[in-house]
Amino acid sequence: MRPSMRVLHPSLRDRVIDESMDVLARLGVQVEDPGARQRLEAIGLRADPTTHRIQIPRTLVEQALVTAPSSVTLHDREGRPAAVVGGDEVHFVPASSALRVLDRHTQQVRDPNSADFVEYVKLGHGLPNLSYLSTAFIPKDVPQDIADAWRLYLVAAHSTRPIVSGAFTAWGVPRMGQIMAMFRSGRDDLAARPMALFTVCPNTPLRWGEDPIANLMDCAEWGIPVEIVPVLLLGMISPATTVGALVLHTAEVLSGLTIAQLVRPGTPIVFGGAPASFHMQLMSNPMTAVEALQLYCAYAEVAKHLGLPSQAYMALSDSKFNDPQAGMETGVGAFLAALAGINSVSGPGMLDYVNCFSLEKLVFDDEVVAHARRFIRPVEVREDLPAGPLLEELIRDKHLLMSDHTLAHWPEELYLPGPMVDRTNWDQWEGQGSRTWRDRALDQIDEILGRYEEAPLPDALHAEIRGLISRTGLEPGAALPMLGGVR
């Protein structure tokens, strides 16, 4: 049995689902953009001409739940299956999309550039406990209209891993779809072997703005898997209480899921979320607030019951620096997410309300992830029942250090953390140079970057992608940055 946790009574969970369908049927979702309303009308969703709200009947939602897959397999750049998002799988991926980075050399917060981004990709590629990579932050040295495609390209150019990404404009998905299709034999192949999971955020409460609705429908047309990520603020743009918030959250996800299934039945939809609390004094929005954490775990239960893969912004920190608060928030979030069985956990590396990315934190969080994943490993009998003979051996020999049982099982049972967790005693620590966690993190970063090996893309593919990005977003005469490994 895999260790797990529950926060909802099954009857309450069922009532929440029922209530959310009722909300969609009665209140519906608002779509302001006329173009989007036209597209929705084409698939049978008509908006009220005055309120622009679309009521979604329960039968449509239920039908959509039938066609939505229970899992999605993300494939790597080369088209090989890399990660199943669904079932009992728990994957961790760097959070996205920060506007700033915490410079590891100066400890100053600053704007990131493309070189920072490539360094991040190379580091993330070398971290063993992350299942795939995200487009973690936004380089500022390219026009922001092309930054979404540019980031996607930079990840694919420097890592073979699958990607969590998203578009920044209403028209961003098709361009990114075209880029990804270049790694496959075409659009159908990309839909069959997706290399990225795209994030789409509805506009709470119960609204779909121009960008997210276009992104959602474009992703569905392209067969790109989508994580629908409502961003509720408890007490502000959501009920302050868990159950009310959960109804709203579920309704928003189900609205997107239904739209996607109407566009293309079978589009993989991940039940995601990034809810935060609303701080009633500071007016800040902590995603790591304890009540928000409870909501994350609660909606994961709803997702599981509906047979949908799940995603959450957990295992991150709202702290500004890598301090004890960051350690607590990240560790607690990672363990809760793992215990809740959330399939794709977006968090490692992130600080400051998803505004700031830190490479030291990414390295540290990779170790947090290893701990969380070890914790949820099923507890099984490993030649230790009946325990009598083993305990007799212990009493006889006074220890089991050389026991066949220990030799057979300790390597898989007793997890030895990497350098980010200090297990030395004081004298050993002094003997090794009294190194702080940051000293060790910087060493780790240098070591991983030092052994990074490029899996180069063909020059023609580089040229094709860069050409597409340049044509669709650069001013005449402007050029994309040239980076190591990119010709």
């Binding site: 006074k398 250090l401 050389m402 030799l407 300790w410 004081w426 004298d427 003997g431």
Partner: protein
Amino acid sequence: MIDYAEMNQLLFEGQHEALKRMTEEALAAGRPPTEVLEEGLIAGMAVVGEDFKHNRIYVPEVLLAARAMKAGMAVLQPLLTSRPGGAGSAGVIVMGTVKGDLHDIGKNLVGMMAEGSGFTVVDLGTDTSAEQYIEAVRRHDARILGMSALLTTTMIYMRTVVQAMKAAGLEHVKICVGGAPVSADYARQIGADGYAADAASAVELFRRLIAERPAAAEAGPA
């Protein structure tokens, strides 16, 4: 022809019975005991030590190798010397947990690792009085006395033992201390010669102390 590389490998794998057999075969083939010791056993243990230091193997593997080393040594010892701690042994260490303290896990680990590195270990167990330490040091002509304690309430007895050793005229015997509450500072305060934070560094400490100064018995009359 004896294949010392194979002996080293058996030692590395902790195959104590096979190593014991090969040690006997080497002697039967006419190889000098010192050569068998150096090339068959000590060379293999050196690889074990290096691999442990570089996290290629871990405590269980080291202890298995140490047990194999001990099995090989048991064959060689009678031929190398008429008394334990003489030629072939890296030296005799008397060790025990101090009076009032029944914790022996760390001390046992140190003992096993020391034996595996060629030391002859006389383990007095737990709850050991100054008189018992002194009697054993004298009887076995030990070069090192090792004391362990887990409690802050019992570690103070270490000072009593250090003073008793002096009073007994055994200043030439190096005194090493260890255990969770013990530190290098504390070792200095009580007049001990060395402190080690873990079993592997304890063995290194023993080697260093032995190399520093010969035992009184070998240096001349005490």
